[in-house]
């Protein structure tokens, strides 16, 4: 297994806001090369790279940028989604805190391609200390001529601003993020129009995740084909994974696409903690799917995951051992979505409340088989009719756990929680 470090190469090795140290460690090579290339050429390289958006939606970035490039309307804005709020995800935090200039370089290349003069990095409010590091890195980049006016003497200007979120998971959704950038509530907008045509201040907007932008310098530097070869045939490059839960070595790992989930948990993660047995893995954060032991040999690669009804989402790999109860775990998941729903559309706002209510019933031993059927029905309605991705994906964990562990739910209707996590009385533990 080749140990390729593209995104994490400088983690912990340089002073994060120092342009000098960044350059000495190989930084800004991508931008320097980019400004000698035609815009279309760079986009071509990106398409060859098989880079898929790293925020969760996994849309091919090259195609996205080609479409955005084709939009003829000025000004264009470049926006970075650094609202990392998906439970179990803490990778963007590492880039922002330990190598922010990589992101800045990636965005600067983007600005060069798109002709954008202004860019915004929307960082979640909870990362306030990290916001200061990024701001400082921006200032230093400006001083060194890598941002601001006449960048690298090539006559193009680009300014970057850090904007803080204020505590709302839904702002990770593109249009909600744009609303929030405009100082409003993070309630998603109707699509179309898409942000690439009509985004921030109603202007064309290129919006990508921290990790996605951070891949760009390397793609420009080594070329799309080479970058792609780090991964699998269909998923180019490397990915930052966030390993958490009941596993020995938790943390962020940069892996080439193609490793299996088992390899990640047992080789990188050192296996399940305290010698317990793995019960399921929650992949891609709270909005992702849960998979049982039998699917552990699935490769991390968009196609293979898709075949098994899974998706990598933001790159969260949460290991849950067999001392946990699915009903109890889901209560925590649904509590999150209930609270984080923006409240705009009916299925998400009301559906999450009802799923939680029915889960509570189950955990109190009052649940019925009809409740389980009702949950499935609500989940389906939420998935099919919610306004945005939050509501559509909120019941994914429930649906997948019901698929693989339905018996455990049924046991609860008989007043039994094998793991002793549920109170089984109406007063509840809460």
């Amino acid at each position: 297994m080749e140990d390729i470090k593209i995104l994490s190469a400088r983690f912990g090795k340089i002073k994060p806001d120092s342009v000098e140290e960044y350059i000495n460690a190989g930084g800004y090579e991508g931008l320097k090369k980019a400004v000698t290339m035609q815009q279309e050429e760079i986009i071509e390289e990106m398409k060859k790279s098989n880079l898929y958006g790293r925020g969760g939606a996994a849309y091919p970035t090259g195609i996205k940028w080609e479409q955005a490039y084709a939009v003829k309307k000025d000004p264009k804005y470049l926006v970075c989604n650094a609202d990392e709020g998906e439970p179990g995800t803490f990778k963007d935090k590492r880039i922002l805190a330990e190598d922010p200039l990589l992101l800045i370089e990636g965005m600067t290349i983007g600005a060069y391609i798109m002709g954008a003069k202004e860019g915004y990095i929307y960082i979640r409010g909870e990362y306030s200390a990290i916001q200061r590091i990024v701001k400082s890195a921006i200032e230093n980049a400006k001083k060194a001529g890598y941002l601001g006016t006449n960048i690298l003497g090539k006559g193009f200007d680009f300014d970057l601003h850090v904007v803080s979120g204020a505590g709302a998971y839904v702002c990770g959704e593109n249009t909600a993020l744009v609303e929030s950038l405009e100082g409003k509530q993070g309630r998603p907008r109707q699509k179309p129009p898409y942000v690439k045509n009509c985004g921030l201040f109603q202007m064309p907007t290129i919006l990508n995740n921290v990790e996605t932008y951070s891949c760009i310098p390397c793609i420009v530097n080594v070329g799309g084909e080479r970058y792609s070869s780090f991964g699998t045939e269909f998923s180019g490059g490397t990915k930052l994974l966030c390993l958490s839960g009941n596993v020995v070595n938790r943390g962020v790992y940069e892996i080439p696409y193609g490793l299996t989930i088992r390899e990640i948990i047992y080789n990188l993660g050192g296996g399940v903690k305290d010698g317990k047995k793995l019960k399921f893995v929650h992949l891609g954060g709270s909005s992702g799917s849960c998979l049982p032991e039998s699917l552990l040999d699935t490769r991390i690669c968009y196609d293979d995951l898709k075949k098994n009804g899974l998706s990598l989402g933001s790159g969260a790999v949460l290991v849950v051992d067999d001392s946990n109860c699915v009903v109890d775990y889901l209560k925590a998941v649904m509590e999150f979505f209930e609270e984080e729903s923006c409240g705009k559309c009916t299925p998400c706002r009301e559906g999450n409340q009802r799923l939680l209510e029915l889960l509570e019933k189950l955990s109190q031993g009052r649940g019925t088989l009809a409740d389980i059927e009702k949950m499935k029905s609500i989940a389906q309605t939420m998935k099919m009719t919610s306004f945005c991705g939050l509501g559509q994906s909120a019941p994914t964990a429930l649906v997948t756990l019901l698929k693989y562990f339905e018996n455990e739910f049924i046991e609860h209707t008989a007043g039994k929680c094998a793991n002793g996590k549920c109170s089984m009385n109406s007063k509840g533990v809460n």
Binding site: S341, R349, F387
Partner: protein, 574 residues
């Protein structure tokens, strides 16, 4: 024009580009149910009641905000859609205070209708979200427990009325439509127009019910209870009893009021004629004597409060005339009391108004005559209907009654007060006669009629050019005043009505259950008023015999000192 061909429920349809699925389905007489949607006003796609299935698309799509595309194949009521829609309605209902039987909107509730039609038979859930308690201002009652968070009231308040005192707040289960800091609507710049009530699909917004006050006055043998009815009420009240929209039910209404036990049944149309006498005089006086122009009408209390909050630099432009409602009260407790030899302290004046803001106007400090409240209780058209129903009258079969004298005679000029442009036209009829010294016959000022939000006209009377503007909806008023402020427009006389269409569409009028018919209903109600005007023998305010008698007997002449004491007022900065 680019035409798009698509199939809806197996039927072919061709519509222009940019049409929504909802509109395209209408062409085929397919009615896709909606809740949050109001055309051009609230196209947010948030309730998801209107979801439909589109072949090849993942999930279901909201018909109200999804545009058609070539070759699209849509199912609006297949099994998936039906089941999903039922689920969504059940989810809405789960967090809804389901006290339908005691709700004023029972049987006039869009949610109830939708749930019935979708076959929602069982609300599965136990818990309800915690919502703020019921809160009431003098005009409007908010019941957050019934709110379905469609946001229609927010749109009307902010985008039509330019008031914006309510908005979405919080998120998740706490999501609410609320005022800042949950303050009562009486503590902020709410203008009491009640347009939020009219647009609300359910009973989350209602008028403050004052029927109890009226019942107890009627029941009190020591009181002489008189009632006045505003022009717009008579062309809308019939709707509450299943009569065609726009029917003139004046006669039946008078009979009903008499049967309810009012001692005298009078007409606000009488005092509308009186208002014209005063306002017409005021206009001529301001034009001829270099007074503050433009003169702006002051009949609409929602508009007055709006001006007092937001356009204080225009307060001197407002006509000093009290509104017809208040002029009536002032006359009832002075002139009428004297003529009928009744102690004004014993007279109880009830108003029936198409308006919720009138409830607020009646309790303004200024609105007193000789130390007496001019108007003691105000009920809306809806509240009157409720009283009639409670009395067990078969309204549609009542005989036609006539208003009592000496405050019951009115002209065609007065009745059109109820539609936007009507006050203007009534004033012109009188002003023209005064300026020409003739009894002019050509009195239909069609240029000031219509339902558009803003209209302008210039009329020439006896060599004098009078520039006019008519606006309805305080949002339109704001735009016009902004233009005047910026020096981009100027007029001699402006009529402002707080509600779109004028009083016929006031916040106290019968609820229009099918919101897509709103325009049509306004039109019909307005036609009803103009029809009454046409049928009147006397169509100019100054020719009203009872008005002539009033001046001869009591006020001397328009603009007299006594008139100012009784019929004029002033405004305050808020």
């Amino acid at each position: 024009m680019d035409m798009i061909n698509l199939k809806i429920d197996g039927l072919d349809v061709s519509v222009s580009k940019g049409t929504t699925i909802l509109e395209a389905a209408k062409e085929l007489k397919i009615d896709i149910p909606t809740l949050c949607y109001i055309k051009k006003l609230n196209e947010v796609g948030s309730c998801r009641v209107c979801v439909v299935e589109i072949e090849g698309k993942r999930g279901l799509q909201p018909a109200c905000v999804t545009n058609v595309s070539e070759g699209m194949v849509v199912s609006t009521a297949n099994k998936t859609v039906r089941e999903t829609r039922k689920n969504i309605l059940e989810l809405i209902l789960a967090n809804h205070n389901r006290e339908c039987l005691s709700c004023p909107r029972n049987l006039k509730c869009e949610l109830q209708k939708l749930c019935n039609e979708a076959g929602v038979d069982n609300v599965y859930y136990e818990k309800k979200a915690l919502r703020s308690p019921v809160s009431a201002s003098l005009s409007i009652v908010r019941d957050p427990g019934k709110c379905v968070l469609c946001g229609r009231c927010i749109s009307v308040c902010a985008n039509v009325q330019n008031v914006g005192v309510i908005d979405f707040a919080y998120r998740g289960p706490q999501t609410a439509v609320t005022t800042p800091y949950e303050q009562n609507l009486s503590e902020n710049s709410c203008i009491n127009c009640g347009q939020c009530i009219e647009i609300c699909p359910v009973g989350a917004l209602q008028e403050k019910d004052d029927t109890d006050k009226v019942w107890s006055a009627i029941d009190n043998p020591g009181l002489h209870v008189v009632v006045q009815v505003a022009p717009a009420v008579r062309v809308a009240l019939g709707e509450e009893f299943g009569m065609p929209v726009g029917s003139n039910v004046e006669g039946k209404m008078v009979s009903a009021l008499k049967r309810l036990g009012f001692d005298k049944v009078f007409d606000t149309d009488f005092s509308a004629d009186l208002t014209i006498m005063e306002e017409g005089t005021e206009l001529l006086d301001r034009i001829n004597n270099g007074g503050k122009l433009p003169l702006i009408t002051s009949c609409s209390p929602g508009w007055i409060k709006f001006c007092e909050h937001n356009y204080q630099d225009f307060l001197d432009n407002l006509s000093s005339c009290k509104s017809p409602q208040q002029m009536f009260g002032a006359v009832a407790k002075s002139y009428y009391a004297k003529r009928a030899d009744i102690d004004p302290a014993k007279i109880f004046v009830v108003s029936v108004m198409p308006c919720t803001a009138k409830k607020f106007e009646a309790v303004r400090d200024e609105m007193q005559v000789n130390g007496y409240r001019e108007v003691d209780a105000v009920i809306t058209t809806r509240e009157l209907a409720k009283m009639i129903k409670l009395s067990g009258m078969d309204f549609t079969k009542l005989p036609d009654g006539t208003f009592d004298g000496i405050l019951g005679e009115s002209t065609g000029a007065a009745v059109i007060f109820g539609a936007t442009g009507g006050v203007m036209e009534a004033a012109l009829r009188t002003v023209a006669d005064i300026l020409t010294g003739k009894d002019l016959q050509d009195i239909d000022y069609k240029e000031v009629r219509g339902l558009e939000g803003t209209r302008e006209a210039t009329v020439e009377i006896n060599g004098m050019e009078i520039k006019l503007a008519i606006v309805n909806g305080t949002g339109n008023a704001a735009k016009l005043l902004d233009k005047i402020r910026a020096g981009e427009a100027n007029y001699h006389f402006i009529e402002v009505m707080a509600c779109r269409g004028g009083c016929i569409n006031g916040g106290g009028q019968p609820i229009i259950l099918d919101k897509s018919k709103t325009e049509e209903v306004r039109q019909r109600r307005a036609e009803g008023l103009y029809g009454i005007d046409r049928s009147k023998e006397i169509r100019k305010s100054h020719q009203n015999p009872e008005i002539k008698e009033l001046y001869a007997d009591f006020f001397e002449k328009p603009g007299s000192h006594k008139v100012h004491e009784h019929l004029h007022t002033h405004y305050v900065k808020r």
